[in-house]
Amino acid sequence: MLITSAAFVAYEYVTFRQLTVRNVKILGEAIAANSTAALAFDNPNDAREVLAAFKAQPHVVAARLYLSNGQLIASYPDGAARGPTAQSLRADGYRFEGGLLTGVQPVVQGGHRMGTLYLESDLGEIYEHFQLFVAIGASIMLVCCIAAYLISRRLQELISRPILALATTAQRVSEHRDYSVRATRPQGHEFGILTDAFNHMLTRIEGDQTKLRSQLSRLDLLHRITRATGERHDLPSLFRVVLHNLGEDLPVDFGCMCLYQASAAALSIAVIDPRSAPLAAGLGLTESGQVPIDQNGLARCVAGELVYEPDTREVKFPFPQRFAQAGVHALVIAPLLVENQVFGVLVAARRDPNSFSSADCEFLRQLSEHVALAAHQAQLYGELQRAYDDLRQSQQAIMQQERLRALGEMASGIAHDINNAISPAALYTESLLEREPGLSERARGCLVTIQTAIEDVAETVSRMREFYRPRETEMVLSRVACNRVLEQVINLTRARWSDLPQQRGIVIQLRTEFAEELPQIMGSEGELRDALTNLIFNAVDAMPDGGTLTLRTRLVTSGSRGGDDAARQVHVEVADSGIGMDEETRRRCLEPFYTTKGERGTGLGLAMVYGMVQRHSADLDIDSAVGRGTTVRLIFAAADTVTAPGATRAPLQPLARRLRILLVDDDPMLIKSLRDILEQDGHVVTAADGGQKGIDTFAAALALGTPFSIVITDLGMPYVDGRKVAASVKAASALTPVILLTGWGKRLLAENDIPAHVDRVLSKPPRLAELRAALATLAAPEDPPAALVESA
């Protein structure tokens, strides 16, 4: 405004100056025009009169008329001496100088200059005009300022303050990201509307923000749950982690997971969130409890629908009513769907009615999908794991079988050698017992024990094949008196449970509790002995610091069939007071090669026991607890009480006739012992060490006309084995019987693998009785040899 005013003033000033100049000029021109004649005809009076006209113009302070020759003819005011001479006049024109407007106006008539008018006008007019103008401008300005001030005050009240308030609010919102701030609504229509709109916008933003946050947190929760469930493969822990997260972060007051049992039309509660346990108690829901499905929300849910009851008080079905009575009013039941099959439901509830938003429901629905998927995966994983375990087990079994087979091969070799080795011992022991009546009782007892031991060795060796041929049950069942076997075992193992521990200063007390009049059982005495021996060894090993070893037999009559004998059982127990077994060991102790004894153990002891038990169709019980010892119980069915007649074999008498026997073997010890035994029986024995020698000897004898009446050959020999010998013998003399004597004897028998040309297979160590029986049988129809012998 000031600038405008200044501009106006400047404009006015300039304009007014020009105007003044023009006015003065017009005046000057008029006066000049009027004074032409006065000048032309040199009339000072007239000139003065003309100049007197300036009186009407108070600002014209002086005027003069000069003739063309420069002579002053008149001046105004009359007689004023002041003023320039004609010579000092400046050029024609009007100009401001010295605070005056001076004009030099030529006086011209008819193109001739008659003279000059000089005039002076003060600037009072301008200044007056100007002052007036400035005064008016200033007052207008003042008025405007006041008005502007008043208006601005009013406007500030009306506009600036609400806008500032809005700006402050907006700033606060953006600084603190707090969308709950609201601008105060001012009086006044437009700004009220603006503020309302602003607040409305804030409300919307706040709402969106809240929604966004909650969605983000949901997403995060879903993510966390999904991750957590991804790490779990069993349903209960999976459910627990879901419920835990749900209760913590959604949150819900009650959460549980149920599995659907379509057959029972019921839900069985799998897991209840521990935090909602008090509520669950109020609801009467317990883990592994059942909820029947009737025609209520549960049925809909089981059909695959998410059920939301905003207020359980308004639902008349029993399940929601339970919640209503427990003060839980909002209930969501989400189905767990896998491949369109509901296998369970997720139940979430809150105390406040209508407290689940649609976003909550949607979240629960998505969550239940995830959970279902995870559960399904867990199931699949479980199946996979089981399949894998099965596979691993069968692989292990195959491996073990392979090991057993290798072991069996080895064992059969060992068996062969052992059988060979013990054959002389067996033969001589038997022979001594039979032929030396003068033996003392003690010597006889020792010999019997030796014989038993040898028989056990032979038996043990023969069982080695069972490592690789478990199904071959080649067992000969006989009546066995358990108490007697136990006593034998005690004697056999005395060194182990008594002598060795005592050397280390450990005492193992032996207790025997034998039932009197215990029925016999049907079984293999040797196997039973071995099994019991193994059990006693285990018991001793389980008591490194000493303890009590208890051997017990009992007759147990069970079953409802009263006096029926079939229900009677014989229990044989081996109990120790040792370290006992933990669950894992208890579970696995029967597996072959499972051992807790480290390098000392083979892991075969209990496995063999178990094999024996199975072969006897018996049962095996193990009672064990860590630190309280172990009791192993063998349960056999009692045999009939009727005693089998003639259980003891009468020793076969030696063959009366003398036979020429060819004995082929590569083991000199065996040859010697067999030769001794057979010669004692009166036979003529020729020995050949090796298959080829045997064949040669037989051929030579045949050629000499003194053929052998029978050939006994070993099976396994280097270069030429027993089969070849037999084949050669039969080729030379088809009627000559051949007895194959073998360390593999039982195996051959079992396999029906009796080689061609062999009339009888006898296993090593040979029993005198068997040998005599075989000779008697094979040689019986032939008498001529005796004649031959006699003739020889």
């Binding site: 040199d42 009339n43 420069g70």
Partner: protein, 186 residues
């Protein structure tokens, strides 16, 4: 010639110097030379009077100031009009001995010597648009349009409007201001 002009110029300068001195000393005093002043007046009349087209000088013809009778101006009138123009017509001075000689003339100064024959002169000029001027003193000159009258040491104008009107001459009102008007009733 050059010498003559030099002499004339020197004379003019001398006269101007005298005039200026006089002007400076006397202020609004009377002019130095009466006829000088009257010559200027004669010339000035040409500025204030309008001639009817018929009486105006023809094209390329001079505007003529005539002096009838015994010329009182000497060279003054010639000096004044020399080089001057009126409406693009150069000025010329013509001297007549009698009125019969007066031909194309716009302003005619009737010298005092012709006072006796004035009646006849005016009669001869009657109807012709010639501005007549005289300075004959002492009598009322009837019929002469402008009289130059000596008064208080100044020359005053007396204008006979009747005569000018009769001659179809238009006198500028400006000229009438300083003049004494006679015969206005016509």
């Amino acid at each position: 010639m050059g010498l003559l002009r030099d002499t004339a110029t020197r004379r003019l300068w001398r006269r101007l110097a005298l005039l200026l001195i006089a002007a400076g000393l006397l202020g609004a005093a009377a002019p130095v030379s009466e006829y000088q002043l009257k010559a200027v007046f004669l010339f000035n009349f040409a500025q204030f009077v309008e001639w009817p087209p018929a009486a105006a000088p023809r094209e390329n013809a001079p505007f003529v100031i005539g002096v009838l009778g015994k010329d009182p101006f000497g060279a003054d009138l010639d000096d004044v009009v020399r080089g001057e123009t009126v409406n693009a017509h150069p000025l010329a001075v013509a001297r007549y001995h009698n009125v019969a000689e007066v031909r194309d003339c716009q302003i005619l100064f009737i010298a005092a010597s012709e006072l006796a024959q004035l009646e006849g002169i005016l009669a001869a000029l009657k109807g012709r648009s010639i501005l007549t001027v005289t300075d004959a003193e002492g009598l009322t000159v009837r019929g002469v349009m402008i009289g130059l009258i000596r008064q208080d040491n100044r020359i005053r104008l007396r204008i006979d409007l009747q005569a000018t009107k009769a001659s179809n001459l238009t006198i500028s009102s400006k000229l009438l201001r300083p003049a004494e008007i006679v015969g206005s009733g016509g």
